[in-house]
Each structure stands twice: as C-alpha cells, then as structure tokens.
C-alpha cells in the first residue's frame, strides 16, 4: 500500500508543476486564475491525503478554508477583469459590443505587464 501513497504524492506534485507551467505561460489573467484554482484543488487533495495517511483530523478545517478561498479568489479576479475591460472599451469604441473585439486586441497589452 506504501507504493500507492507514494504514487499519490508524485501525481499531486506533477499536477501542481503543470498548473504552475500554465500559470507562467497563461495568455490571459483568466487562464492564470484557472490554474490557481487547479493548484488549490491539488493543495486540497494533498492536505486531504495527509489527513488520510496519518489518520489525523486536525487539518480538516484547513480544507474548509481552502475550498472557500478558491471561490472568492476566482470570482474577484473575474469581476476585476470585467470592470477593467469595460473601462477600456467604452471610451475608445462607443456603441460597439465588447465581444466584437478583434482577436489581435483580445488580450490587452496591459495584461502582459508592460503597462502599469
């Protein structure tokens, strides 16, 4: 059974690494928020695996906090992106719908960190 526990640890580590890769490459803020969600899910699974391996229920409240944190984080990032996109689109193109943006400006340069 020890091999299975080791396999669980290795899988979770790999999942976290791949999530980090997407967080570094992610073309937009939303992709990064999504990879943070996956990282949080891996962390939840890891803390749960710890609790199960040691038969130790003291980390269970941590799971509760992490599960709420993921929701608050992704929703607030999404709302932030929506408000900033609204602020960018309305002064320049009055009357046009935000979804009519061409693919070239689909990801504003300000997300790549060049502009403050």
């Amino acid at each position: 059974m020890n091999a299975l526990w080791i396999a669980i640890g290795v899988m979770l580590g790999l999942a976290a690494l791949l999530g980090m890769v997407r967080m570094l490459m992610g073309p937009s803020v939303l992709d990064r928020a999504l990879s943070v969600d996956v990282l949080l899910a891996s962390a939840l699974t890891g803390a749960g695996a710890y609790a199960a391996f040691h038969r130790d229920p003291t980390v269970l409240p941590t799971l509760l906090v992490l599960s709420l944190l993921g929701f608050v984080g992704s929703v607030s990032i999404a709302k932030f992106v929506a408000r900033r996109a609204l602020g960018e689109h309305i002064p320049s193109t009055t009357g046009s719908h935000p979804t009519s943006a061409t693919p070239t400006d689909a990801v504003p340069d300000s997300e790549k960190g060049e502009n403050p």
Binding site: W5, A15, L30, V38, A41, T45, P57, H89, H97
Partner: protein, 133 residues
C-alpha cells in the same frame, strides 16, 4: 472492528484518494495541452468536484477505525457542500467574463448561440456594450 475489515477499508480509502490524485494530474496535463480558455475550464473542473469528493470519501473511510466524531464528518460534508455549490458559480462567472471580453477563440467553437442572442438584444436595447447583463 476486526483487523481484516480495517485492511479492506484502508484499501478502499487509498484507491479513492488515488483516483482523486489522478484526476488532479489529468487536470494539470489538460491545462498545459488544451488550446483555449473554455476547454481548459472543462478539464480544470474535474479535480475540483469529483476529485475532491473522492478524496473526502477516502478521508472519511480512513478515519473510521480511529475516531468516529460527528465534527469530522460534519467538516467533510461542509467542504463537499461548499465545493459543489461554489465551483459552478465561479466557472460560470469566469466563462461569462471571458466571452464578453473577447478572450474566447471563435475558430475553436463549433457553435456560438450566444452571439446571435446578444446581437438581437443589442438591436432592442440600441447597442452599447453593457457588461452588467
């Protein structure tokens, strides 16, 4: 509780947690390999709901021989409940913002029913990018 029964419980628990970890790994691979936001969201939701539920079941089974405490079980159920309630909401909001800010690659979509809907809404409302709808 007999020794044998505990062994069986442990195997069931470790298999549940292994399945949860495997779903996490699948989500990581999908995050790196899939081309756009919507398909990445599709793969990212698997460990958040099914994977976590499997892990919680595993923890519950694994804790049965040492302590059967109503607070532990209550915490596990609360975690499952929060996750199942909040993940669809967060996914919905993320996808909606992604669509309305033009981050979805239209060439990867088979059908886009929302675009026609939004266009007819705009005609009625007289245009204007209204993000609050």
């Amino acid at each position: 509780m007999s020794e044998q029964f505990v062994t069986v419980l442990d195997w069931v628990a470790v298999l549940c947690i292994l399945a949860g970890a495997a779903l996490s790994l699948v989500a990581g691979v999908g995050l790196v390999r899939f081309p756009d936001l919507l398909s990445r969201m599709h793969t990212a939701a698997k460990p958040q709901v099914l994977g976590l539920l499997l892990v919680l079941v595993g923890i519950g089974i694994r804790l049965v021989p040492v302590e059967t405490n109503v607070f532990n079980v209550g915490t596990l159920i609360l975690v499952a409940l929060f996750q199942v309630v909040t993940i669809p909401v967060a996914g919905h909001i993320t996808a909606r913002v992604g669509y309305r800010t033009g981050r979805i690659d239209e060439s990867l979509m088979a059908r886009d029913e929302l675009a026609a809907r939004l266009a007819s809404d705009d005609e009625i409302a007289g245009g204007g990018g209204d993000m609050s709808r």
